[in-house]
Subunit: 310 residues, 2 copies
Amino acid sequence: MKALAIDLGGTHARCAMVEDQAILRAKTLEADGTGTLAGLLPRVADAFRELLREAGWQPNDFAGLAFSSCGLVDSSAGRFLSAKEKWTDAEQADVPAWCRREFSLPMKLENDARMALLGEWYAGSGRGFDSIVMMTLGTGIGGAAMIEGKLLRGKHFQAGNLGGHQTVQLGGRKCMCGNIGCAEAEAAGWSLPLVAREWPGFAESALAREPRVDFEALFRLAQAGDSVAGEIRDRCLHVWAAAAVGLVHAFDPEVVIVGGGIMKSSGAILPFLRDYVRSHTWTPWGRVEVRAAALGNDAALLGAIPLLSA
Amino acid sequence: MKALAIDLGGTHARCAMVEDQAILRAKTLEADGTGTLAGLLPRVADAFRELLREAGWQPNDFAGLAFSSCGLVDSSAGRFLSAKEKWTDAEQADVPAWCRREFSLPMKLENDARMALLGEWYAGSGRGFDSIVMMTLGTGIGGAAMIEGKLLRGKHFQAGNLGGHQTVQLGGRKCMCGNIGCAEAEAAGWSLPLVAREWPGFAESALAREPRVDFEALFRLAQAGDSVAGEIRDRCLHVWAAAAVGLVHAFDPEVVIVGGGIMKSSGAILPFLRDYVRSHTWTPWGRVEVRAAALGNDAALLGAIPLLSA
């Protein structure tokens, strides 16, 4: 089975032709979020037409178009629910109509965290499981859940997506979601510099001399023996582990898949998460697996086939 | 529609005849958990036969038997998964076979927290909603979730049941589930005396002179102006509110129903929870309701009709 797939993020749109568990061909567009979808979609259509021409295929060689997007989406109606900051006309956009007009193809729209989970389930670390929680550690902490082969969406399409927005620290840091002490407010890309700056001894640490306080620097300096970096890294690991325990207790999965840019340091993260989750969850049925995501940025595109087949 | 219903708890078994949204007749048996189900079930059957005789009905006047039980249950197979501490033979018990033999009736077995949610949905505070989280504040913190009219069960029948076992306090108190800093370990009936005993000033507070440090005493003394009781009560409210925020973010409900013995003090609890949940959750679709449970101990029995109809 072949599908067209697009992964629309805050800064880029990646357009691809996908066959089963492989990406055949892809093109990436700048999509820096300053504009409108009405401006972007014609460029997306052009990119797909180029891909088709290069491959010598027609739209009707494809089962449909899978549209992965950041933000909340109404996957039943194919509408964007919360991308207004990125695309001023997002909530008006009728992507299914656009897709019929341009390619005469059916399409489905889904949130990118759920698409990444679908991809990992179909072609990555989730193969062989049907109950999966995915946790993506990056600028924020994203997530999605699948229960017995079905994506969890919820009444307002938020279920499973806010895994980074459980309280892990009463009276902790203010989060962008309105809550206090969320995992994301305590240990994610955007909050790390704020956490670090208030850490005792930060000003004297090697971390303070870095051009950017990010996870790459944190893990590198912690590894090199900087004690403040080591303390902050350990705190982050605890926050992620506590959040993972909460996800296991909420959604009852067989496996927790951990993805995101931070997993470049997965050697320092995964063993800790695995031990902590196994020793801190109540799972009388057996042991929950904790695995690194296998597909990186390809995951959301590789969710195309299961999305369109569902 | 009429059903037989039983609510089996740790100390009592309540047997009832239910018609639609009403309990017609009920009998309560002692079931103190020291014995076996093989010893208890014949007494349950006798209680139902007495109820039938008193009412002048036959088993086949009823659509089936709904069996609500504490602990984890496999609701597909009708087996107990985790009640070994209470009934040594629980995992061997074949309740569907017992029910066919005694009454020639179909039966369904479900966890009591899910049954209480079903009851509140069908006949109580959840009427008119289809996406509900229930949180029961008592000796422990129980919970259940319904998404778009379907109970959430999960791969191992745990999903939604462990709402009290999200981490709300990194490095907090050890919980019975194996985790650290669970809402239940920070603010539930079993943990309250442990929390209180370590509270600064406890020894001099009116709370220390109570025969039992329980929520009744805590709310009474806080109301009367005891400052330590007031501080601990406020901490408990924050813990419950943080847990409720986590449940909203996990399961995306329209309404959070709060039940349990503590809700006798609901005047002190509900306004706080409602304000906190509304101001600390990200719900771009609108405002989540926070309501007190309406049915008390009847909820699980009144879940009988929707359970058997599903």
